[in-house]
């Protein structure tokens, strides 16, 4: 103890009158925050080990536990927050780069929360989705410039490969390694049942999941883990990962201790070695180089798979997206700075990138202005939290959205942001067998199906309210959006009017 002691941010409160000393909390906590004292036949807790994941709270049979924010505080200071002070203590002690997980939790504007949707009244009837058909199906991929016919007037089939989704939502890239086998199985089965796609992330594809290929996007990143011909051909689409919203501009690093036998097989590297994804693709220094990777993937898959290029939302995102649209890619995925991660340096996660709402609006506008919007579909992620966010994103110009964090929350994630420790008590961001089995994929996949079925209903309700019966008619339909509390510049970038206008 001494200067290196940091008072815990959260405290475990145990109601001793309710506690029956069943020791469930002790068994459930991979962080070993709970301890049984034999002599006094009592449970005690060490707050310093608690990550506030609520596992013990949720499983305590007598509701004896709760986690509260500690009132313990530094002297109040508007400049030096307790967080800022503690981070300095940690770095002064260790000399290490601060490592965090999940999306940027800092207090930046959430533009989705400053945008309101329209509804029909009197002049344009709203539609009741319970009695009238509503179309939420979307087709993603490049669309031809025009309809072409041969000399006999027959349609020339010039449609590049497309992917079909029952609703404009997909599960975003989360590698096997960053999340567990059971989490992957849940995502894959839910995608298949819902008629949408999930994404392997950059860790390769487990042999058990090839059967979900029609509902799979296979990812190719700078580390090329698990990338081979059968892998490329197994999915419905191929995604080139250039960047990730949680850590734009930097690579990934799955430490060797997380590369067990199974992960080693999907990544196709030896057990126990670090899986390092370099920050850049070392063969891509330009849009022309990107075009080369796009086409080498198309060549390897006989032009049957659409290729997605995923980038983090960064300052010049519109110009970059324009380049990608000209690279031969079929889709652009843009990941906002709220996007989640299994591990990212805190400073990068919290200080680099752009809000997805602004990035999306500016990319959509740029591509339309340049007359190349048809060449690519736009997928956005980086904190889509609800069906309302989906509707707003589509109205801002997205063809579909990626959800990652929301899907994990459906599986039981309590956003304790400790994925990088590998001790996820909910069996999601861990490879420890005893923890992984806590996530039952039979239940997990059902919860994902429930979530998105509910979202689909809500999307239909919102569309119906606006008098729109097809998601295509909502796409880029900014007249359905109004800003509240936004300044002129923000409204200009979003391409929307202020509420009341």
């Amino acid at each position: 103890m001494g200067v290196q002691y940091i008072y815990p941010e959260y405290e475990i409160v145990r109601n001793q009158e309710r506690c029956i000393v069943c020791r469930v909390c002790e068994r459930q906590c991979a962080n070993e925050a709970h301890e049984y004292l034999k002599d006094s036949n009592k449970m005690v807790s060490d707050d310093a080990k608690c990550v506030n994941c609520h596992r013990c709270v949720a499983l305590c049979p007598t509701r004896a536990l709760k986690i509260v924010k500690s009132p313990h505080t530094f002297k109040e200071n508007s400049n030096w927050s307790g967080k800022a002070i503690n981070e300095i203590y940690k770095q002064a002690e260790s000399g290490g780069v601060l490592l965090s997980s999940m999306g940027n939790p800092e207090n930046y504007p959430v533009y989705f929360d400053k945008i309101l949707l329209n509804a029909s009244q009197v002049t344009n009837p709203s539609i009741d989705p319970l009695r009238e058909p509503m179309e939420t199906r979307v087709f993603l991929g490049a669309k031809p410039e025009k309809i072409e016919r041969d000399e006999k007037g027959r349609l020339i089939r010039n449609l590049p490969p497309q992917i079909q989704l029952s609703m404009p939502i997909m599960f975003s890239a989360m590698s096997y390694g960053s999340i567990s086998y059971n989490a992957h199985e849940s995502l894959a089965r839910a995608a298949a049942e819902l008629g949408i796609l999930y994404n392997t992330g950059e860790g390769g594809l487990h042999e058990d999941f090839y059967k979900y290929g029609k509902h799979t996007i296979v990812q190719v990143a700078s580390g090329r883990f698990g990338v081979h011909k059968a892998y490329l051909n197994s999915g419905a689409a191929i995604e080139i990962k250039m960047g990730q919203g949680a850590k734009p501009g930097i690579g990934g690093h799955l430490p060797g201790e997380k590369i067990g036998r199974d992960i080693s097989r999907t990544r196709m590297i030896p057990e126990g070695t670090d899986a390092i994804s370099p920050a850049p693709h070392h063969d891509i220094y330009s849009i022309e180089d990107l075009r080369q990777l796009v086409y080498s993937l198309k060549e390897a898959t006989n032009y049957e798979k659409p290729v997605i290029v995923k980038i983090a939302a960064v300052h010049n995102v519109a110009a970059i997206a324009s380049g990608i649209a000209r690279s031969g890619a079929d889709m652009i995925a843009i990941d906002g700075f709220r996007g989640g991660t299994g591990a990212a340096p805190t400073r990068i996660r919290d200080h680099v990138g752009l809000p997805i709402e602004l990035a999306l609006a500016s990319v959509d506008k740029r591509l339309r202005d340049e007359g190349i919007r048809n060449r690519v579909s736009i997928i956005v992620g980086g904190s889509i939290r609800s069906s309302a966010d989906v509707v707003k994103a589509v109205a801002l110009g997205a063809d579909a959205v990626y959800i990652g964090t929301a899907a994990l929350i459906a599986l039981g994630c309590h956003l304790c942001r400790s994925c990088h420790t590998g001790k996820c008590n909910w069996g999601i961001a861990t490879q420890r067998e005893d923890l992984v089995k806590r996530l039952n994929p039979n239940i997990g996949y059902k919860r994902l199906v429930n979530l998105l079925t509910a979202w689909q209903h809500e999307i239909k309700e919102m569309m119906g309210g606006m008098g729109i019966n097809s998601i295509e008619a909502l796409k880029g339909n900014r007249l359905m959006l109004r800003g509240v509390g936004l300044n002129e510049k923000e409204l200009e970038i979003l391409g929307i009017k202020h509420a009341g206008e």
Partner: protein, 238 residues
């Protein structure tokens, strides 16, 4: 099957290659890209200069280039063999996982970058001449040999093996490169090390008709990573 690359253009050319399981001979090749992408078990002979990404994701085929090759030869190659009777460009064998690439002449920057091995798969690159900087960067597995047969200087550029965390690099040279990064250990190759690479050296010798005496006429140095987890201590839990 004989194909005239320049007449067809890369897309039609590659479609024809995919459409046959026969051996293919390509003439008049003036930079057509992606030849043999993902190709399996047969021989593709190219008389001319293939373009970038030759043999990307190669999965068992043999490609012989009678001429020079350009950038990204054997990108993410899984199995098979690429023989280049000339020079190769940058990023040769990027993220290659299996198979062999033999280059008679020189290779560019970032040769063998992020190569990795897996189970029985162990990728091998042998370059007869010299290579540019960043040889074997992020090397995670496999074997790279640089012979420098055409130079008296050390046949590698700067920063060889930066971020290396697996695999091994052999350099045939009298003097070791300066400025090796701290992730790399080096020592003169011992007899046991040389025994392990003798087969591949004789394959190179036979392929390009270069005598083993000449190849073994200079000492070899062996570079290995000093840890398989080079970035371990960098982080603090926050």
């Amino acid at each position: 099957m004989y194909l005239l690359a320049h007449q067809l253009g890369f897309r039609a050319l590659n479609e024809k290659i995919r459409g046959t399981s026969e051996d293919v001979v390509i003439e008049e090749c003036y930079g057509e890209r992606f030849i043999g992408a993902g190709a399996t078990g047969r021989t593709i002979t190219i008389n001319g200069t293939p373009g970038n990404a030759l043999g990307a994701y190669l999965d068992g085929a043999t490609i012989v280039v009678n001429g020079n090759a350009q950038d990204a030869v054997g990108d993410t190659m899984n199995d098979g063999k690429i023989i280049i009777h000339g020079n190769a460009g940058d990023a040769l064998g990027y993220a290659m996982r299996g198979g062999k690439i033999l280059v008679k002449g020189n290779a560019g920057y970032r040769t063998g970058i992020h190569m990795k091995e897996y189970q029985d798969k162990k990728p091998v690159i042998v370059v007869g001449g010299y290579v540019g900087s960043f040889l074997g960067e992020y090397l995670a597995g496999g074997l790279i040999i640089v012979l420098g047969l055409n130079t008296e200087e050390c046949p590698v550029g700067n920063f060889t093996g930066t971020g290396m965390h697996g695999g091994e690099i052999f350099i045939r040279t009298q003097k070791m490169p300066k400025n090796l990064p701290k992730q790399v250990c080096h020592s003169p190759a011992e007899e046991a090390d040389m025994d392990r690479i003798r087969d591949i050296l004789s394959e190179f010798s036979e392929t390009f008709n270069i005598g083993m005496d000449e190849i073994l006429g200079k000492p070899f140095h062996r570079l290995t990573p000093n840890a398989k987890n080079p970035y371990k201590q960098l982080y603090t839990n926050n």
